[in-house]
């Protein structure tokens, strides 16, 4: 199993957690990112996720390896959904098993924060009003347009 993976079907947290089972681990922390019905004041109906997979799996695996090294945890894994997701669906799962809980919390937080900042994954939100938009792109596109002459 690679430390970072993509799946195009629903994630199974129980199976993912079981794969990190380790009798030398006393603490296990997991993070789940769920598709929320609202973002920035707009009502969301569903999401599309896409990724530059070849680079994303390398960058994601680097992040998990960094977390294991930095926090000294025993095992960690991250899986991200791709494709169309409905409300409440599980978009990303991070699990960390550790001797003690402080390191498990820190490593899990590190992985999800870094994944959101560094891994080439994009999501398009579809709103109730019929509009849609790429998160983090639409607003900075407007900013780019306003400053077009200064680039």
């Amino acid at each position: 199993m690679s430390a970072f993976e993509f799946l195009r079907k629903p994630l199974d947290p129980a199976a993912l957690g079981a794969a990190l089972a380790d009798v030398a681990a006393g603490g296990f922390v997991s993070f789940e990112g769920w598709v929320r019905n609202e973002n920035d004041g707009r009502e969301v109906l569903r999401l599309d996720y896409e990724a530059f997979e070849e680079l994303a799996v390398k960058e994601g695996a680097s992040i998990v390896a960094e977390a294991i090294e930095r926090f000294g945890v025993r095992g960690a894994h991250c899986v991200h959904r791709l494709g169309e997701l409905g409300l409440g669906e599980l978009a990303v799962w991070v699990g960390v098993a550790s001797g003690h809980r402080a390191e498990a919390f820190a490593a899990c937080r590190y992985i999800i924060d870094e994944v959101k900042h560094r891994v080439p994954i994009w999501k398009k939100e579809h709103y109730r009003d019929g509009d849609s938009g790429w998160v983090n792109c639409e607003r900075c596109a407007e900013a780019a347009h306003q400053h077009h002459d200064h680039r």
Binding site: A51, L55, A91, K123, W134, A141
Partner: protein, 80 residues
């Protein structure tokens, strides 16, 4: 002239109207190539909002392009 394979994702894919393309370019680096393609496809994202990958590794904008390189311009990410 270098022959470059582009792959597009997210907003850039939609604005380019395609997933990928092959271009022959005289641009000396990734920055010049983006400016060329932004003009052709009407990309709304400024280069400062993007990162660039060459052959599936993050790269500097000033990296010289070689024949056969695969280039991906990376819009602001939003995983999770």
């Amino acid at each position: 002239m270098a022959r470059i394979r582009l792959r597009y994702y997210a907003l850039l894919r939609e604005q380019a109207g395609r997933n990928e393309e092959l271009v022959n370019t005289a641009a000396g680096d990734a920055a010049g190539l983006y400016d060329e393609l932004a003009a052709r496809h009407g990309f709304s994202l400024g280069r400062t909002q993007l990162k660039v990958a060459v052959n599936a590794e993050f790269a500097d904008w000033s990296r010289p392009l070689a024949d056969g390189d695969e280039v991906v311009f990376i819009p602001p990410v939003a995983g999770g």
